[in-house]
Amino acid sequence: MSAFEEDRIKQLLRQALPPVGAESGPNIDLWPGVLRRLDEKHTAQSQLVQSWLGWVRRGSSWFDWALLAGVAAVTVAFPALIPLFLYYL
């Protein structure tokens, strides 16, 4: 490649690709927006969990807690039955 052709290619490349300057990016900082979106998503998830916990508190009775304790006790006492329970879930 001759020196003339090399200069010509450089010139064409400079014309095709404008220089990266101060005006090339967005005018505002996008990172706070990303953080805000992540925070909103986390808040929505925690709201669902809080909502479920409220549901459990409102609907639970001593009978349900006793049932839960019984199921847990049987599962701990007979761990070999866990695959059988999972088979039916």
Partner: protein
């Protein structure tokens, strides 16, 4: 506007088995490969993977359809599902060769020996588990979906 309540009931119903199944599969594959226990996973997963989630969804749709007439609580409705599921599961397990009926009890997965005297208590435990899950998980999801 049609808000598709039965579709939402189905989705709320399949939530629990669909959530539990991958964890169950991971557990069984770990047991099979790491601990080298002879549990036939391939035959075992057919029933929980193919039938149980669908039945949970359909059962919740049935609850939604019958609730205006029966006024049955969702927990009690869910506790009735094992009455249908356990014979179906036992038949499927027997056909797939993962359950063998012996003189003194039933042998599951070639490893778990369940005496006949324990079958009724196990059934009651399964009923209790289903009651709790349907009352506190499926009931909540029905509420979130706006159908309860």
């Amino acid at each position: 506007m049609n808000t598709h309540p039965y579709l939402r009931a189905y989705l709320a119903g399949v939530f629990v088995p669909t959530l539990v199944l991958p964890m169950m599969l991971a557990g069984f594959i770990t047991v099979r490969l790491v601990l080298a226990l002879p549990i036939p996973i391939e035959r075992f997963v057919v029933f929980p993977m193919a039938l149980v989630p669908t039945l949970w969804g359909l059962w919740n749709m049935l609850w939604l359809g019958s609730h205006p007439r029966t006024h049955l609580a969702v927990g009690l409705h869910g506790a009735a599902l094992p009455v249908l599921l356990m014979p179906m599961g036992a038949i499927a397990a027997s056909c797939l060769g993962i359950m063998a009926i012996g003189l003194h009890g039933v042998v599951w997965f070639n490893t778990v020996d369940v005496p006949y005297t324990l079958i009724a208590p196990i059934f009651l435990v399964v009923l209790a588990g289903y009651y709790l899950v349907w009352k506190y998980v499926v009931g909540f999801l029905n509420s979130v979906m706006g159908i309860a």
